[in-house]
């Protein structure tokens, strides 16, 4: 063997000189991976790694988590000091926190005084800690008193929330990742785990390495997950509900359902049965584009499995009938008895790291701890706990985020506070959003990044600390409450969101009379008290206990050692009467469908290396480089017809507007469909429609019609694209 030199120099391998590993939970998606951030002797975060004995990720991390330590110091565009301006077209000037917050509180009070309490809206996020959500809820509901208060979770999870509530009487995903180890059939709807939740995919893959079970993926695109599946159903866009009804039709027709379970734990069976009767596989095949034999086959495999589970993500949620889709999945699992048992579940794979936290504790859709504004008992309980008059609360939830923005457009809402959300990039129809935001008399943007696009329209910018510059909890997709320890001090003069909310509260008379705990653990103990005896009971948790267990799943009542992996194991649901509802779901096709003028379906989605609007991942070179600029997947046959070559720019037009995008020709998409990742500013959302779901008010990003042509001037198109990228 040839070895080369005899005299060898010492081998140099990078040593980051980590002296301490600090425990945290990943701040990107809702998988909830336990992550350790390595700090060097100078206290600088220099490395990230998975926590080896954490049950969720078992030592693994995805590309985003692997570079998460870079967020603290290495990503450009972080805010360091509050910024103020009178008009949005003036330059910002730096201000002290006192000046910025005094001005903010004064403006909120002025607008509310002038136009009414609900004329000032607050739109938050799924990205900050649960303690911060709770505090923001207390501020919004108990101090500011606006009913136009929502989270951006309306863009991703509200269909799941709404569907769970309609079927089971409460929000809360009933299953867990461990279900993969028990299930005998997995059906995935509009979920591309390898790209969106790689760690959950790994958990599934590990389960499949030890025990084979059928995996069926429903997705119009041939995603990586579709290729790894045993069966792929490339359904026509927006027709999942018909497919689900047809599956139920076959199951009932062939007596594969569980009559005992249905009788004992559900209501509404007869109406449901009558409705699905109309959705025979032959009819459904014509609508879904999936042949009837295959529909029957899938129904039989699913129903005959000892335990079967369905997972889904935005393919279901971001639809004009997203809530119905979720209910239909629940229907399927209720008639087959697949709720609350190992391997049997309706498990929504959530988007943001703390989407669950905002659902549980932010009071966006009601009051903290899954309480409702509509219930007098809940209003009184919380008012008493907070020390305010219950009459201060509205008796009905106000507008969703997607209705707040049109209310700004037409002048009912005059002021807005955005917290860690970026509608300029994330909302459909960018031109309309610009027109909306410019109408605001007062816009506060609170974000870790000064260059977040929505800041273009703000009057006050409040620099927030990011992720583990703070301390607190996230809840993941499987209801696991996990901890983020403080890793380092906030960047510059940025402040934890909790500090900002508390400081704003102090500037209102009602806020000064209420208790706002200073640190996260103090807030957590308030939440514990409010959770006692409820479904999301966290009273058995403490920060140390959570860290030791690498996260605990609620319910975890006082005295319990462990959390609970599943809900509804006893078949007792949260509707009055304790039964789940089987709800008949007629399919109403109100999508904008391709026609002669706009002949392509436009679909949007994620890529693994980016998160949401790229304010973080767009600056992490080792993630961003895998898709540094937007692109559109297009079928090569369509490309050939339109004279568009691989790597060229196309011009996209819809009834909303136009955009340019680089084309990637691939057979991953159907000849009449195109796909564009949604992460990039001034790209796909310039043309999307986003019809709202009637129940969840979630936009249907994934279905609209566009026209595609080759950009006439390729260099100009390239320049236009570069001009739209500041990162």
């Amino acid at each position: 063997m040839l070895f080369g030199r005899n005299k060898k120099n010492p081998i140099r391998i990078v040593d980051k000189s980590v002296v301490d590993w600090k425990y945290a939970t990943c701040g990107y998606c809702s998988t909830g991976c336990s992550i350790e951030v390595g700090v060097n002797a100078a206290g600088e975060p220099v490395a990230s790694r998975g926590v080896a004995d954490a049950d969720v990720n078992r030592g693994k991390l995805c590309i985003k988590g692997i570079f998460e330590h870079e967020l603290f110091r290495q990503t450009p565009g972080r805010g360091t000091t509050p910024l103020l301006r009178k008009e949005r077209f003036e330059p910002f000037r730096e201000a002290s926190w006192d000046a910025a917050l005094d001005h903010t509180a004064a403006e909120i009070q002025r607008i509310q005084g002038q136009y009414g309490r609900d004329s000032f809206a607050i739109v938050s996020t799924g990205q900050i800690m649960t303690e911060e959500f709770y505090t923001l809820g207390k501020l919004a509901r108990g101090v500011v008193g606006t009913n136009n208060y929502d989270g951006n979770t309306t863009l991703c999870m509200s269909s799941a929330v709404s569907g769970y509530k309609r079927s089971f009487g409460s929000d809360g995903p009933p299953g867990c990742y461990e279900d993969f180890e028990h299930t005998e059939c997995l059906l995935a709807f509009g979920s591309n785990l390898p790209e969106q939740h790689p760690i959950i995919y790994w958990r599934l893959k590990e389960a499949l390495e030890t025990r084979k079970f059928p995996v069926i993926v429903v997705d119009p695109r041939v995603t990586m997950f579709a290729q790894m599946a045993d069966m792929h159903l490339p359904v026509n866009p927006g027709t999942d509900l018909v497919l689900l009804n047809a599956l139920a039709h076959v199951i009932l027709k062939e007596n594969l359902h569980k009559p005992d379970y249905i009788a004992a734990h559900t209501e509404g069976y007869e109406e449901f049965k009558a409705l699905v009767e109309q959705y025979d596989p032959t009819t459904a095949a014509g609508i879904c584009g999936i042949d009837e034999d295959r529909i029957r086959h899938v129904a039989r495999v699913y129903a005959k499995a000892g335990a079967a589970m369905t997972i889904w993500t935005m393919g279901i949620n971001q639809s004009t009938h997203g809530s119905d889709g979720v209910v239909a999945i629940n229907n399927l699992n209720l008639i087959t008895g697949n709720i609350g048992k190992p391997g049997g579940s309706s498990l929504s794979i959530t988007g943001q790291c703390n989407a669950m936290g905002t659902r549980e504790w932010s009071s966006c859709s009601g009051l903290p701890g899954y309480r409702a504004l509509e219930k007098e008992k809940d209003r009184e309980e919380i008012a008493k706990f907070w020390g305010i008059d219950p009459e201060f609360f509205p008796r009905k939830r106000g507008l969703f985020m997607t209705d707040i923005l049109p209310a700004i457009e037409t002048g009912q809402v005059k002021g807005l506070w955005l917290i860690a959300t970026n509608p300029m990039t994330s909302m459909p129809n960018t031109a309309r959003i610009r027109k909306t935001l410019e109408k605001l008399e007062f816009l506060v943007v609170q974000d870790a990044y000064r260059d977040v696009e929505s800041n273009e329209y703000s009057h006050v910018y409040l620099p927030a600390a990011v992720w583990a510059e703070k301390e607190g909890c996230f809840t993941n997709t499987e209801r696991r409450v996990n901890l983020i320890r403080n890793v380092c001090a906030p960047h510059g003069d940025s402040k934890p969101d909790l500090w900002i909310f508390n400081a704003v509260a102090q500037r209102f008379p009602q806020g000064r009379s209420m208790r706002f705990p200073e640190n996260a653990e103090g807030v957590f103990s308030e939440m514990k008290q409010l959770s006692k005896g409820r479904m999301l009971d966290i009273s058995g948790m403490t920060y140390d206990k959570i860290e030791k267990a690498r996260g605990l799943q609620w319910p975890c009542p006082d005295g319990a050692d462990k959390g609970s992996p599943r809900l509804y194991t006893d078949g007792a649901f949260r509707h009055p009467g304790g039964k789940a509802k089987l709800i008949p779901l007629p399919f109403i096709d109100n999508n904008e469908r391709p026609d002669e003028e706009y002949p392509f379906w436009l679909n949007t989605g994620r890529v693994v290396e980016h998160f949401h609007t790229r304010t973080r991942t767009g600056k992490v070179g080792n993630a961003n480089k895998f898709s540094p600029t937007p692109y559109m997947e297009m079928n090569p046959d369509a490309g050939a017809r339109l004279g568009i070559r691989h790597g060229e720019y196309a011009r996209l037009t819809s009834r909303r507007g136009e955009t340019v995008v680089m084309v990637q020709l691939t057979q991953r998409v159907a000849p009449n469909a195109v796909f564009i990742p949604f992460h990039f500013h001034d790209c796909v959302n310039r043309v999307t429609l986003g019809l709202l779901d009637p129940h969840s008010r979630q936009p249907a990003y994934k279905q609209c019609a566009v026209r595609v042509e080759r950009a006439a001037d390729q260099m100009e198109a390239a320049r236009q694209n570069v001009a739209a990228r500041s990162y």
Binding site: N9, G59, G621, F626, Q667
Partner: protein, 612 residues
Amino acid sequence: MFRPRSREQSYAFVPDVSHPVANRYGQPIETVPEGHALRGKSLNINSDAAIGNNPNRYKQHGFFFTADNCIACHACEAACSEKNDLPPHIAFRSVGYVEGGSWPSYQRLNISMACNHCDDPVCLKGCPTRAYTKFAEYGAVLQDPDICFGCGYCTWVCPYNAPQLDPLAGHVSKCNMCVDRLEVGLKPACAAACLAGALDFGIIETRPENRAQAETRIPGFPTPEITHPNIRFQQTKSLPREMTRPDSMPIRYVRDPRNGDAHVSQAQDAGRARGWGLKKLSTRENPIAVFTLLSQAVAGAFALLFLAPYFGVSLLAAETHPIAHPALLFGLIGAQTFALVLSTLHLGRPHRFYRAFNNLRWSPVSREVAGLAVFYNLLGLYAVIAAAPMLTAWLAPATVATVTGAIGWATAVAGLAAIYLMYRAYCIPARPFWNHWQALSSFFGSVLTLGALTLAALDVALTLVAGRAFAGVSAYLAWPMVAGLVLEGAGLVFHARDMKRQGGESAASDQIQTTDFGYTYYARNALLALSGVLMVVLTFTQAQGLPGLVLWLVVALFTLGASIVGRLLFYALVIPTTMPGAFFWKNRGFEEHARAVGLARMPQVGVVQANH
């Protein structure tokens, strides 16, 4: 020693399993036997003298890639870049893919590739500085950036794109097999990070649990015959007949019944438009193009000058041209100096140029540089003796003549030998476009044509300066010029034929030659032929006077132009047998675009703005 995580999971440890004695190529898996001098030594990682406790320390390890399972989630690449603290534009491991079929029966095959720590490490052999070492420990091939001077030759010879030349740092670096982790029994960071049950690691010729195959080929992976790479594959899913690459390389992979139904690379016949490709003609190898042409001209000019008397020709002889003769010699030295300076400045770390001789035993680059150094020094000696007769005045004239003659012969031979060694440096299996005798015919064609042209130019200039009329170019120079052109032309004819026949990357290069660079290529060929014909006509007709001078001048310019363009094409056209890239990452087409439109100005795009 590397500190493992507390309560590390079992997947992260390299399994201690039994293995065959030798690998499939007959190489023992045990790198050195018990009692060998290389045993029991510390790897000295960051000067830590400790010795790892891995029970299989002296066994060849390698990656195992289950291509069936890879989802292209980038976790392996990210784990690698995080551990090695790499800037975005550098990656020791990259995931590319090929795809095929038609919606919805579409399939994408992802390939994660780093260094394969080969049995026959061509990087180690090729490196002139001996920056590479294959260690008895794990059979790891490691590279030391502190020794490297950034010539990039290893990046030419490696078929897998493993060595990474960093244009900003000016040196190469590569996968280090995470030997620090191996010392404590842990798999490399990439394998431990895999999220799909695709990338694994262990003793070579062993299979991870649940894996049925251990193949050496998958579509997109170059032939293992070049280096005997230490990687094994499982790929059991049926693949479409034809797979294409998402990057700009015009290569596809087609199932070949003559090759056991394995996918072989073919040129992508995408109906590329014919153009001049002038912008792409300029590459980062421009200095090397000039360096080779100048060196060949100098070697040729000297040989022709020195050999003239042996053919009974009086050409620029010292006796008739007491000033011009030594001036010419020093002119040649000047040209060669310029060429050497250019090639040195082309290094990432020019101040380490002296390391070029460190690997005479294996490296064609070391030998090329050594050949040129010998030639250069002999040429100097010859020039000094010729220019300063007083230095040898104390010797008998006959002795001087003998010594001068001997040095002259040695110089001429050394020059030609250096050009041969230069050609040897291009015999690279991973670069099939170069790996052909056409490189030899082109280099020696230039020796003849440019060497003779140089002397002819000077000869004619002297004639004109002396006020005499142009009386044609000496046949002694004209015929070598013609011969050089014929040699070049013949090489090109056979080269084009063979490239088409070889298929794969060779045919793809040929296709680009006749499409993207089509007009340039055909214009060069026409110039070459026209120059040859004109030279013959002008020599036979003994063209004289102003018309003769003008015609010869035109021919000279044609010849020079054809030579320069031909050499630029030589560098611009080579398509290495590297791994497929992705749509953005490792896509040369996107990199060029990003530079052209300014995307590359953002460092997080991962494309270095300047190409040089």
